[in-house]
Amino acid sequence: MSKDADLVKKLQNPTLKDTAFSALLDAYQERLYWHIRKIVTTHENADDVLQNTFIRVYKSIQKFEGKSSLHTWMYRIAYNESMRFLEKNNKKRYDNIDEVSEAHLEVLFEDTYFDGNEIQLKLQEIINGFTEKQQRVFQLKYFDDLSFRKISKILEVSESTLKSTYYTTVKIIEEKIFL
């Protein structure tokens, strides 16, 4: 039995749930935080969404059937919570991540926990200029260090397409940064 499968089994057992949930936080808190932070931009927002995400995970874990991996399932919850948060706080409906990207840079400068230099800011701008699919592929591969196989399962895109998309984005970033 894999580590995640064992963790899910414990999370679904009422007597072991709290202990297992603490282990789940240790394993996924940081990853999910950064995943959320890249969508909601500021630390304060990411902190709120992270809490909501884990509360939802805690409440919904009984319904988890294991059709996808635990990480994929939590990733989806985090993504949905992030989008819900943005819609609620900006009083505006975001139909896709492209619209979110426009708002992203405006908020970034207001964040206390952003002290990026010129090159870092430029990278943020370039990433935000990508399509939703490109952003997600790049972030999952580069920042979350997931294998192409796993990203393929998360995004339901073939591995060859993913590789092509990723290397294209990397090439664009390098070209734009070293212009």
Binding site: F21, L25, Q29, L50, Q51, I55, D115, Q120, D145, V170
Partner: protein
């Protein structure tokens, strides 16, 4: 020299595979930081919030006083008592329905009087009516027919045979 280092750093940009500290990686490449010890504090905060939510959800079931077990049993007992009382009151003033099976038992019973003391008056009356009809009236009718036949036969056969046909049971029947 400084310019050369910066150029090397730029050339290595995105070449290094990320391993280990995600936060450091994000700081290096995106310039995003987090407060010191944030994840430890955040973990405690999430666990506290879950405990709070569990506490809020748990007493929901027992917020109403009568939903608590001690009240639940009392309420159930009262409900059963009231229902029983209602059913009993509805039947207590009604005349008991005549039980057909009892008549059959009485018909074949030798000690009818003794049993009649133990049963309801209305049942005894019904029994008497049924017995009179079934037993007495039919017997009388049959006896009358026998008597008619007997008189007719005597008219034809003669007086010498009269004594043979007179028996105790017949006389009793005629008397009745």
């Amino acid at each position: 020299m400084e310019e050369s280092t910066e150029n090397n750093s730029n050339q290595n940009f995105l070449k290094e595979r990320f391993k280990g500290d995600i936060s450091k990686h994000h700081k290096n490449y995106l310039g995003t930081t987090i407060p010191e010890g944030y994840f430890a504090k955040s973990k405690m905060s999430i666990l506290d919030k879950i405990k709070e939510e569990s506490k809020i959800e748990a007493p929901k079931k027992q917020l109403v006083f009568w939903m608590q077990p001690q009240f639940k049993y009392i309420a159930a007992a009262c409900l059963i008592f009231i229902l029983s009382l209602t059913v009993w009151l509805q039947h207590v003033n009604k005349p008991a329905p005549i039980n057909e099976t009892n008549f059959e038992l009485f018909a074949f019973s030798d000690d009818v009087l003794l049993e009649s003391l133990l049963i309801d008056e209305s049942e005894v009356e019904a029994f008497v009516d049924a017995t009179l009809f079934n037993e007495v009236l039919v017997k009388v009718e049959l006896s009358e027919q026998k008597l008619d036949n007997f008189i007719l036969d005597n008219l034809i056969l003669g007086d010498s045979l009269l004594d043979d046909y007179i028996y105790e049971g017949l006389i009793e029947t005629i008397v009745l």
